[in-house]
Symmetry: C2
Subunit: 406 residues, 2 copies
C-alpha cells in the first residue's frame, strides 16, 4: 500500500468533485463553502455519525437516504451546521433534491452534510443559485476544491489517498476531512468522506469502516466537545474491477487495513490542525493489560487540558501525564508506570516506576519544542497498546472560540 502524492477524494476511478463559494454565511464572499462529490455509477455505502443526541438535520436525512446501503453523491456545506433549526430537515431534503437534479440521479442516493454555526437557520438560496455552477465544475481534479469547501476553522485542507492491490487489481481509496474544533473521541468524527473504486458490499464496507474508525477518528480529541454534525461516509463504486468483497476473506483484510491506515493519516492531520494548535501530540501507550485499558489511558492523557497546556509551553511536566493516567478509570498499577517524551530532536525519560527520575531540562525543552511530540506511557503490566491523537492548548484556541459566530 502506498500513499499517493496529492491524493484526494477524486483519486479513485469514476469520482468527480467540485467546490464553490456560494455565500452560506452572508459575510463569506471568497471561501469555497459548498461542494459536490459524485460517482459515475451508484456505490455501496456505509457511514458512522455522531452519538450526540442533538444532531444536525443533515444526519437525519442522510441516515434515511443510505438505509438501503446505496449512495452516489455527497452534497455538503460549511458555514452553517443546520442543527437546532425548526426547518432543518426540509432544508436538508432540499439540498439533496438540488444535487439530484443537477446530477440526474435519485435524490435518495444523496448524502447531505453541514458544518458551521449551530442554531441559525440555513439559507437555502446559496444552494438554489449554486447547484448548477457546481454541476458544471465537476471534475476528476475537483477533490481538492471539495476539501477546501468543507473547511471551517481549519488552516489547511485535509485530503489523502492510498493505492493497493486487491485480487490482482489496482485499487485506490481517497478521503477528505475537516476539523478542527468540537472534536472529541468516540464519535463518528467531524466531517469526512471516503471514496474508493474497490468493489465491496455495503455490510463489508461497514465492518471495515468500524474497524478503521476505532483506531483513527475515534482516537482524536481537540477539545473534548462532541460535535452535533459528525459524519463519516464511504462510497465504493467497484470500477477497479476486483471481485466484490462480500465476506471477511483475505481481500477484506487488505482493504480494511488500507482504510485504517488512510483514516489514521487523516486523524493525525485533524489533530495537528486542531483549533489554535501548534503541535501534534501522539500518546502511545504500551504494556497495558487490555486494548481497552491502553485506549483509555491514551485518551485521558491526550484530553488533559493541563498536559495540553504544558506541551504548548514545551514544559516537561510529566506529573500531569501520570495524573491523567490515574483518573482514566483504567486498570493500571501506578508503581509500574514509565513515561518518556519523544520527538525528532530526541527522547527524554522522565518517570520510572511511577516516580520522577533526574533528567536534563535542557534536553527536555529541545525535545518538546518540536511540532510533533510523542508521549510514551509504558504501563509495564501487559502486552496491549494503543495510540491517541491530540494537540496542544493555546491562546489561539481561546481566541478562535471566544467569538466564533461573527
Amino acid at each position: 500500500m502506498v500513499f499517493l502524492e496529492n491524493g484526494t477524494v477524486t483519486s479513485p476511478l469514476g469520482f468527480k468533485a467540485a467546490g464553490i463559494c456560494a455565500g452560506v454565511k452572508p459575510s463569506n464572499t471568497t471561501k469555497k463553502d459548498i461542494a459536490l462529490i459524485v460517482s459515475e455509477k451508484p456505490c455501496s455505502c456505509a457511514a458512522v455519525f455522531t452519538r450526540n443526541l442533538v444532531k444536525s438535520s443533515a444526519i437525519t436525512v442522510t441516515q434515511r437516504n443510505i438505509a438501503d446501503g446505496t449512495a452516489q453523491a455527497v452534497i455538503v456545506n460549511s458555514g452553517n451546521a443546520n442543527t437546532c433549526n425548526a426547518d432543518g430537515e426540509q432544508k436538508a431534503e432540499r439540498m439533496c433534491e438540488l444535487a439530484a437534479e443537477v446530477l440526474g440521479i435519485d435524490k435518495k442516493d444523496v448524502i447531505v452534510a453541514s458544518t458551521g454555526v449551530i442554531g441559525q437557520p440555513l439559507p437555502i438560496e446559496p444552494f438554489e443559485k449554486g447547484a448548477a455552477a457546481l454541476g458544471k465544475l465537476l471534475s476528476e481534479n475537483g477533490g481538492t476544491d471539495a476539501a477546501e469547501a468543507i473547511m471551517t476553522t481549519d488552516t489547511v485542507k485535509k485530503e489523502a489517498a492510498v493505492r493497493f492491490t486487491l485480487g490482482g487489481k489496482e485499487v485506490t481509496m481517497g478521503a477528505v476531512a475537516k476539523g478542527s474544533g468540537m472534536i472529541h473521541i468516540n464519535m463518528g468524527t467531524m466531517l469526512s468522506f471516503i471514496t474508493t473504486d474497490a468493489a465491496v458490499s455495503a455490510p463489508m464496507l461497514k465492518l471495515a469502516l468500524n474497524e478503521a474508525v476505532e483506531q483513527s477518528y475515534n482516537m482524536v480529541s481537540v477539545d473534548g466537545d462532541t460535535s452535533t454534525n459528525d459524519t463519516l461516509t464511504v462510497m465504493a463504486n467497484g470500477l477497479a474491477g476486483n471481485e466484490e468483497i462480500t465476506e471477511q476473506n483475505e481481500e477484506f483484510r487488505i482493504f480494511a487495513d488500507a482504510m485504517t491506515e488512510l483514516c489514521k493519516s487523516m486523524a493525525k492531520k485533524l489533530a495537528a490542525d486542531g483549533e489554535g494548535a501548534t503541535k501534534l501530540l501522539v500518546c502511545r501507550v504500551l504494556g497495558a493489560k487490555t486494548v481497552l485499558d491502553a485506549k483509555g489511558v491514551a485518551k485521558a492523557v491526550i484530553c488533559s487540558s493541563l498536559v495540553k497546556s504544558a506541551m504548548f509551553g514545551s514544559d516537561a511536566n510529566w506529573g500531569r501525564v501520570l495524573c491523567a493516567v490515574g483518573y482514566s478509570g483504567c486498570d493500571v498499577d501506578v508503581k509500574l508506570i514509565d513515561v518518556a517524551f519523544k520527538s525528532k530532536a530526541g527522547v527524554v525519560e522522565v518517570c520510572k516506576n511511577g516516580a520522577g527520575i533526574d533528567f536534563s531540562e535542557e534536553i527536555a525543552k529541545k525535545v518538546l519544542s518540536e511540532n510533533e511530540i510523542e508521549i510514551t506511557v509504558n504501563l509495564n503490566d501487559g502486552e496491549c497498546g494503543a495510540e491517541a491523537y491530540g494537540c496542544d492548548l493555546t491562546y489561539d484556541y481561546v481566541k478562535i472560540n471566544g467569538d466564533y459566530r461573527t
Copy 2:
C-alpha cells in the same frame, strides 16, 4: 444560619491557625507556604479524597491517621504536591511528627496535605526549620494566614464561616480552601479544611460531609483534570456545648444543611477564581426527570471548552450549550429544551423547544459581559434540578499552565 463577616477556619471556638513562608519552592521567598490548623482538644473527624489512582503520599498518611475518626491538627504546604516521589510517605510522616512535637499532641492525630508540582521530591528542611515558628504564631486570628499559605495559582484567599443554632447552642463552622487548576467534578475536591465547634460523632460528620460535597465541591470544574491531591477534611471539637449528634435527627439536618451551604459558597469561590478565569459560570438545570440527569447536564455544560470560550468572549453561542446537553449522556428530549443566559444585567432567552429564537445580540452581549453568568437550561421534562459551577476559558489559563513548574 448566617455567613459571618471575615469568617474563616478559626471562627469556631477552640481553633487556632498560623501560616508562614518557609520556602518549600526554593524560588519562593515571600508567599506563605506552610500552615498549621489546630484544635485545643481532639476532634471527631471525617474526610473525602481524590479518586485518582495516582495519589499524594500525604493522602496515604492522612487516611491512616484518621482511620479512628479522630484528629486534632492539620499541617499543610503549597509549592509541592509530594506526589509520585519514592520517599513521599516518609516525608509526609515527618511533617506529622514535626507538627505533633510543636503542638504536644499525638502524631496519629495529625492530618497532612500538600499541593503544588507533582513529581518533585519534597524538601523537608523548610518544615524542620519552620515548625517552631509556626507553633509560636498560632492564633485565633490565624485562619486567614492558613488560607493564604495553601494558595497556589489562586489569586484570592478562599475562606468563609457560618453560624447557626443547634439545640439552643450557638454553633460556628468555618472553612478554607484552595483552587484553582486541576479541578474537576466528582472528586473529594482540591484542598479544603472545615472546622466546627459543634459536637458531632465521626460517622455523622461523614454523612453530612458526603451530602455537602455532592452539591458543592463535586459540582465544580475548572479544567476537567482530577487532581492527585484532593483532600477535604472536617474536624468537630464540640466546644459549642450542644448535645452530640449521633443520629440523623432534626439537629443533624440543620448541621448538614449548614455544611452544604458553606461548601456551596466555597465551591463558587473556587470556580470564580479558576485559573485565568474572568467570570463565574453557574449552570442551573431545571425540569429534569431525575437529579442525576440534572447534575449530568449541568456538569456537561460547565465543562465544555467551547461554552467556556464563548463565555469569555461574551458570545451568546447557545448552540454549544445544546451540543453539550446532547452529549451529556443524560435522558433528555432535545425538542423540549429551553436555554437562557442571565446575569445582574438581565435575562436573554435564546432557545425554545430545542430551536433558536430571535434575540437581541446587543442585550445578550450586555448580559454576558458581567462577571457572574447563569446559564439556565430547562429540560421541561420533569421536576428535578441541579447547579454546577465553573468559569470561562481564557488566554491566561493557557499562560498559567504553559509553564507551571518554573
